[in-house]
């Protein structure tokens, strides 16, 4: 017997690692391409004012995508994100308008309410073993139904909000909207939690190989419920910010946003099979989506083109991930090896 040649070795080794490493760069390249194309088509695209506008649009999406990333990393979905945002915003606004002395607690209240809704999602997925797509499709309706029932076709107007929240969306710090800075803070905090907390690493481990996670003694249900609770809490907070930006809100706030959020996450390179990607990629995905929106509006293109391009971007991103995933999985396959000829 002799040693296999270098070429043979290469064929035997998993080639998914390199692909994982360049995935983020691919999104970045796509964003640069978008900027170049839009600028070429309409020179007004490039400039500080328009960049600010894109980042402002991306801010809400990037924060919601940060929460969604936690769930998608485990190989699951949270389709109820828009309903959680709407429910939390409406309930918190309504309560504060009736009890102004609670105004100082709006943020913790929204986060806690969102976390409770996320907990319900997590329990459905773990203990009742309902596939996450179905469980959160159900709660998408349930939560929206609850807020409609609660709102009883009424609106909460911005006049009833505490003063600081009414103006928050228009405040600028260092030349950028406060929302952009808050989004940066949220994304970085989630990013740090993912890389520095043991829980964050376990999310990746669970999404990468659930069977191995069992052998390693990881508490699968606990980790997953944690992901849903955190995602719900973030959604509650983002809902509050979105409500403050919109002003007069009704029970339909943020309905349908889950598609945008998921689009940002998968375009940003978080694998829909779980285990890889980052919250920074998801934020970049949000910027890509905002850029597409903004550029097409500047070009005076109709809405359905935007949907078309957004849809193609999602499919292309997941197609790339599917190729990467196939290669990555060679590392978990049964070991079969050929005896090298003498």
């Amino acid at each position: 017997m002799s040693e296999p040649s270098v070429l043979e070795r290469l064929r035997l080794s998993g080639s998914g690692g390199a692909a994982l490493r360049v995935r983020f760069i691919g999104v970045l390249a796509f964003q640069v391409l978008l900027i170049v194309v839009f600028t070429a088509l309409n020179p007004r695209f490039i400039g500080w004012d328009n960049a600010q506008s894109i980042l402002f649009t991306a801010a809400i999406l990037a924060m919601a995508a940060a929460g969604q990333t936690l769930v998608v990393l485990t190989g699951n979905l949270d389709l109820s994100v828009g309903s959680i945002m709407g429910l939390c915003a409406y309930v918190v606004f309504d309560v504060t308008s009736q009890a102004p002395w609670l105004a100082g607690l709006t943020v913790p209240f929204a986060v806690a309410l969102g976390a409770v809704l996320g907990l319900a999602n997590g329990l459905l997925v773990t203990y009742l073993k309902i596939p996450s797509m179905v469980a959160t499709l159900g709660t998408l309706s349930v939560y929206r139904g609850l807020v409609s029932f609660y709102a009883n076709a009424m609106e909460v107007t911005s006049g009833e909000l505490p003063q600081w929240m009414r103006t928050l969306a228009t405040v600028r710090w260092l030349g950028l909207s406060s929302y952009v800075w808050i989004a940066v803070l949220v994304v970085v905090l989630v990013g740090l939690a993912l890389s520095l907390l043991p829980w964050g690493r376990k999310l990746y481990a669970l999404g990468s190989n659930a069977r191995a996670a069992y052998y390693y003694g990881l508490n699968e249900n606990g980790i997953l419920v944690g992901a849903y609770v955190a995602a719900g809490g973030i959604a509650g907070f983002v809902g509050l910010l979105l409500g403050a930006q919109v002003g007069n809100i009704n029970s339909l706030l943020a309905s349908g946003i889950e598609m945008q959020v998921l689009a940002a996450v998968v375009i940003g390179g978080v694998s829909i099979w779980g285990g890889s990607g980052s919250v920074y990629g998801a934020a970049l995905g949000a910027i890509v989506l905002a850029t597409i929106n903004n550029g097409l509006v500047l070009l005076g293109v109709q809405e359905f083109y935007r949907l078309l391009i957004q849809g193609l971007a999602i499919v292309a991103a997941v197609a790339v991930d599917a190729l990467v995933q196939k290669r990555v999985l060679t590392a978990t396959r049964r070991r079969v090896i050929l005896e090298v000829a003498a």
Partner: protein, 509 residues
């Protein structure tokens, strides 16, 4: 090596006492008892299905025994999961890799026991820990590399590095060298000997005589879920070991073939699949049953799957009735009259939530439909005919999930037979089936070959079955055709010897 283990004199490191474990009607382990001494290398051998993996599962807490005890250093232990076993110093490296491919080597090694600085991960300590472990074991790997970019051997080193901890009492390695080159295996031998010197007991599951001879202090043989012998390696020769492995008690009768073989139906030449098998050439004639024997993981099932078009990247030539065909997909092969019955019939062979009729009609839908619509009467007639021919128990409207294993297998077979195939590929056709049904399946195979003139290529781990039904035996060892044995000369011993590269004296029967 940091593993320093204290041993009290006379007490076995691990004592397996009267362990039994059944999966439904199958007895995977029956009253197995033996001892492992402290600081020895203990080879655990046996055929496929002898119960080795089940035993490892029971010891490490992956499975719960129905009866019996496991004593670690004289204390009764019953682990509920592999992690609990690890905390008591019992670790196993399984044949199937259990790693996180998207994560780095360092993370894979520390997952579950992260080094912390307050509530945060200590990334530097994590890397340092991983590097130290890898260096101690003599593995030269960068802890920052992702597991997805490792070779199978490197991935296995990562698993071993993860398993080895200070105070390790028992390390179980399940066919650890099956994916290693000779020099990599050599490094593993050195590592295992160092562990032994430090007092760790190592269970080495292997089929390779050379390494068992080189490493093992003691050898235990399992057969059909039962303990056969535990003896010092010096007292158990290769012949005795192979005899102990293969001496199955089941009596299956050969039925000599009176019909002549016809022309070659399936011709395979120079079949190659990178990293899995190479230079595979053979013929199967009309009316002939050819068995592929070999160990699990030798590539034998993969050869059959490649012939059925499940590995489009395979190279080489395949001819069916003299006509060349590229095995690009199962659809292509099925059109040529080649059909395949997978080993895991519940997952791949049948659709258990559908009726017997629907299952049998599935591959024949085109010929059963009229102007694009299904013709239920024709479907039922086809199913009733097959049910009769194969003596399937159960109404044709019954769901397949309500049938026994043997009858499910018959349904899986019936659905292909309804298409009048020319070449039949069977992977472990009677795996998990009771002896009575097994004999029926064998009769059916003989009839299909001899009367209906099909060419049958069967993969089987069941040596009595191989001897009872086949006309010729191809033995695969590590992806290569190690021997072709005519049925007149075949014995369980010489097949096993060819599969494991052990030496058996001529004339051993």
């Amino acid at each position: 090596m940091t593993a320093e283990v204290t041993a009290s004199a006379g007490v076995p490191r691990l004592s397996v006492q009267g362990i039994s474990k059944s999966f439904e009607a199958i007895h995977a382990l029956r009253d197995v008892s033996f001892d492992l001494a402290p600081g020895e290398i203990h080879a655990l051998v046996g055929e496929n299905g002898a119960g080795k993996s089940t035993l490892v599962g029971v010891i490490t807490g992956l499975l719960q025994a129905d009866h019996g005890h496991v004593l670690l250093n004289g204390t009764d232990v019953r682990f509920h999961n592999p992690l609990e076993a690890r905390t008591k110093g019992v670790a196993a490296v399984f044949q199937d890799p259990n790693l996180f491919p998207h994560l780095s080597i360092a993370e894979n090694i520390v997952t579950g026991a992260y080094p912390r600085k307050g509530p945060l991960l200590d990334l530097a300590a994590m890397r340092g820990l991983a590097r130290t472990k890898l260096e101690q074991l003599g593995f030269d790997l960068d802890p920052d590399r992702l597991v997805a970019e490792l070779t199978v051997a490197e991935a296995q080193f990562v698993e071993i590095a993860r398993a080895v901890e200070p105070g390790l009492q028992l390390l179980i390695l399940d066919e650890p060298t099956s994916a290693l080159t000779p020099s990599e295996a050599g490094r593993l031998y050195t590592m295992v000997e160092a562990l032994k010197a430090a007092g760790t007991t190592v269970v080495w599951i292997s089929h390779r005589m050379d390494e068992i001879r080189r490493l093992a202090d003691t050898i235990t043989v399992l057969r059909d879920g039962q303990h056969v012998v535990t003896a010092p390696a010096s007292e158990l020769g290769d012949d005795d070991m192979i005899k102990a492995m293969v001496g199955r008690s089941v009596a299956l009768q050969r039925v000599p073939r009176t019909e002549e073989l016809g022309p070659v139906r399936l011709r395979v030449r120079d079949l190659n699949l990178a990293g899995t098998f190479a230079d595979i050439s053979f013929d199967v004639a009309e009316g002939e049953i050819v068995a592929i024997a070999g160990l699990v993981g030798s590539g034998r099932s993969e050869i059959q799957q490649a012939v059925f078009g499940l590995s489009p990247e395979v190279t080489g030539t395949i001819e069916v009735d003299g006509e060349a065909v590229r095995p690009d997909s199962p659809a292509v092969m099925a059109r040529k009259g080649v059909v395949y019955l997978p080993e895991d019939r519940d997952a791949e062979g049948i659709i258990s939530s559908m009726s017997i009729t629907a299952n049998i009609a599935l591959p024949s839908i085109r010929s059963l439909s009229k102007a694009g619509f299904m013709a239920p009467r024709k479907e039922r007639a086809l199913a009733a005919g097959q049910r009769e021919a194969l003596s399937i128990k159960g109404e044709i409207s019954a769901l397949v999930s309500s049938l026994s294993g043997g009858n499910r297998q018959k349904v899986a077979l019936a659905r292909w037979l309804a298409t009048n195939p020319r070449v039949l590929l069977l992977d472990e056709p009677t795996h998990g089936i009771d002896v009575g049904t097994k004999v029926q399946v064998h009769d059916m195979m003989r009839r299909l070959a001899r009367q209906q003139r099909m060419a049958i290529l069967m993969v089987s781990s069941d040596l009595p079955e191989v001897l009872a039904v086949s006309d010729r035996v191809l033995v695969i060892r590590r992806g290569r055709l190690a021997a072709t044995i005519d049925i007149e000369d075949a014995t369980q011993e010489n097949i096993m010897a060819a599969a494991t590269a052990g030496r058996v004296e001529e004339g051993t029967k």
